[in-house]
């Protein structure tokens, strides 16, 4: 319980948690709130927010901005969370093995992660998504493929450090096998930084997804905050809300995630300073 108290210690964390929960709820409830979908034309184009029935105004084709924002939230959160899960899965497994066993596997992994660090990964993901044909799946796969190396580095670092700790040596002496040691002794201690990294990664995945769909590399059948901004390039001069609102949504979501990540860091790593 002291964990929860530590988590909510800072007001920003509480704010972040509430905001993110609100966005998640809206995303899940979008089909209920806007049953006709985001692409339906409901009125005159380019109406400002506050116009009757339009909390967020209408876009250049006369579609409901609020509906688009809600459905856009689904895409952003979906891509962010799923790609992070894949990334943590691949990166975590490889990093743990490399960190624990060392040797050739470790060397190989380090070369690969260095490679991914050096090459401009956004250009790579552009290329990947373009070649795999833009779609939800290719976006998720592309983002997972360029982010797993940083997870692997963090996990490897943790496992390497923890492996040297004397309680691991003691566990070996007590007769515990490798599996028990990796999952029972090391992982509970490594979990905290992994969780924090994961939270931050969801945020950066959302940013990457929005950049991709801004450039037109998102799923053409789905509406996403990034594609909304991309589509507003002509209309933003006369209807600022078509550009500003989706961007604000992205910013607020990622900020909320970062606050949550900071709070998790406080709660799970009390001994590690800021």
């Amino acid at each position: 319980m002291s964990c929860l108290r530590a988590f909510f210690a800072r007001p920003q964390t509480l704010a972040g948690f509430c905001i993110f929960s609100a966005i998640a709820i809206i995303a899940l409830a979008a089909p209920l709130l806007f049953p006709r979908g985001p692409f339906v034309i409901i009125g005159m184009p380019l109406l400002p927010p506050g116009a009757p029935g339009l909390a967020a105004g209408s876009d250049v084709l006369g579609r409901d901005m609020a509906a688009q924002l809600a459905y856009g939230a689904r895409i952003s959160l979906l891509v962010g969370i799923v790609s992070t899960i894949f990334s943590i899965g691949i990166g975590g497994a490889l990093g743990a093995v490399a960190g624990y066993y060392g040797g050739v596997v470790d060397d190989l992994l380090m070369r690969v992660t260095e490679f991914f660090q050096i090459i401009p990964s956004f250009v790579l993901v552009m290329v990947l998504v373009a070649f795999l044909q833009p779609s939800l799946a290719s976006t998720v796969i592309g983002i997972a493929l360029i982010t797993w190396p940083q997870v692997a580095r963090v996990v490897r670092g943790e496992f390497l450090a923890l492996r040297q700790r004397e309680f691991v040596a003691a566990a070996r002496m007590q007769g515990l096998g490798d599996g028990r040691i990796i999952f029972g002794e090391i992982l509970p201690n490594a979990l905290a930084p992994i969780i924090v990294v994961a939270t931050m990664m969801v945020g950066s995945a959302i940013l990457t997804e929005s950049a991709l769909s801004f450039l037109g590399l998102g799923d053409p059948n789905l509406t996403s905050w990034g594609s909304m901004i991309g589509g507003s390039r002509s209309s933003m001069w006369v209807a600022w809300w078509t550009m500003v609102l989706p961007g604000l949504c992205i910013m607020v979501t990622v900020l909320a995630l970062n606050f949550i990540g900071d709070g998790l860091n406080d709660a799970l790593n009390p001994r590690r300073g800021r």
């Binding site: 660090q117 050096i118 401009p120 250009v123 552009m126 290329v127 070649f131 950049a211 992205i250 900020l255």
Partner: protein, 324 residues
């Protein structure tokens, strides 16, 4: 002597990364659906079998994979990155036309970001917990969460649409035909918005990092020793704290480079800045795979070289660095 060996080993490493990038590109191109011939035929308007066969033979697309790989590698080694489908020009040529614009923008952003970021971070570190410190932290969190392209568009909205202080896109005023100093001024004016867009994000990062690095360095024992020697606060701050705090910053600058290049792709698009970014965007739209991959290779090589420079700078700054 050791330093020379170090530089050599880093050069070799950069070379290996380049080769890996080229290999990766080669295999990526296989991912694209339909081979090059289909694409070209589609663009040319012809589709009959004989024409396609002829194209394949011409581009060597009907040969076994290893042969194609070898052909590609040797071509790249000679500097031939292929021919752009859409423009019917050599890829390298097209890239080299646009490269200086990107370099200009990126260099401007890097200098502004590092300079002001480090300065702000040092200020914040001097008084941890103060209002100024909190402001810097908050600002950096905000910029960290903001999508760069959107930030750019917001800047355009404010400074071009509403205030009309700065031009919204391009590198120079079209049709104005400035020369010499006037041209430079014109370009500079056009560079401010995209440059600041790129810089603001990294500025926040540098400020945060500098602050953390300075606070950590200030807590080290040798700072206590420096004070015990009777040095003034200014001397302690410059020669001992900042000098040691610079070390992690240099290695961060190296990591920056690849993210900077990625960021500039998006930002260039927002501002129609005629650099590699817009080129990449056009290549995606036109399904111009050789051009796209050429851009990938060139940007990777650039980042490699930049990393080499920062590695060398790091080894100079930190005498403890392992020169292996």
């Amino acid at each position: 002597m050791r330093r020379l060996c170090y530089i050599l080993s880093r050069l070799v490493k950069a070379g290996l990364v380049t080769v890996a990038v080229v290999l990766l590109s080669f295999f990526l191109i296989r991912l694209a659906p339909g081979d090059a011939a289909t694409v070209m035929a589609g663009q040319a308007g012809y589709a009959d079998e004989a024409y396609m066969k002829g194209l394949r033979a011409e581009y060597g697309l009907d040969q076994p994979l290893p042969a194609q790989l070898w052909k590609y590698l040797s071509a790249v080694a000679k500097g031939d990155l292929g021919t752009s489908y859409a423009r019917q020009q050599k890829v390298l040529e097209v890239i080299l036309e646009r490269l200086p614009n990107t370099l200009l923008l990126d260099a401007f952003a890097l200098i502004v970001a590092m300079g002001s970021g480090i300065w702000l971070g040092a200020l914040a570190a001097r008084r941890p917990g103060s209002a100024g410190d909190a402001a810097v932290s908050l600002a950096s969190m905000l910029f960290y969460a903001t999508p760069q392209f959107w930030l750019g568009m917001m800047l355009v909205l404010v400074f071009s649409a509403w205030l009309a202080w700065l031009p919204p896109f391009g590198i120079e005023t079209l049709g104005a035909d400035y020369t010499g100093l006037a041209r430079l001024a014109d370009i500079a004016q056009h560079m401010i918005l995209p440059g600041m867009t790129l810089a603001l994000y990294y500025l926040a990062n540098y400020a945060r990092l500098t602050r953390v690095a300075m606070i950590e360095a200030a807590g080290q024992d040798f700072v206590k020793t420096a004070r015990a020697k009777g040095l003034s606060e200014g001397q302690v701050a410059r020669r001992h704290i900042l000098r040691n705090a610079m070390i992690p910053l240099i290695s961060y600058a190296g990591l920056q480079a690849s993210i900077l290049v990625g960021g500039s792709v998006v930002v260039e698009n927002v501002f129609s800045w005629p650099g590699l970014g817009t080129l990449a965007y056009q290549a995606v739209g036109a399904r111009d795979n050789p051009l796209l991959l050429g851009i990938f290779i060139v940007t990777a090589v650039l980042v490699c070289l930049f990393n080499l420079l920062t590695d060398i700078a790091y080894s100079i700054a930190d005498p403890r660095a392992e020169l292996t």
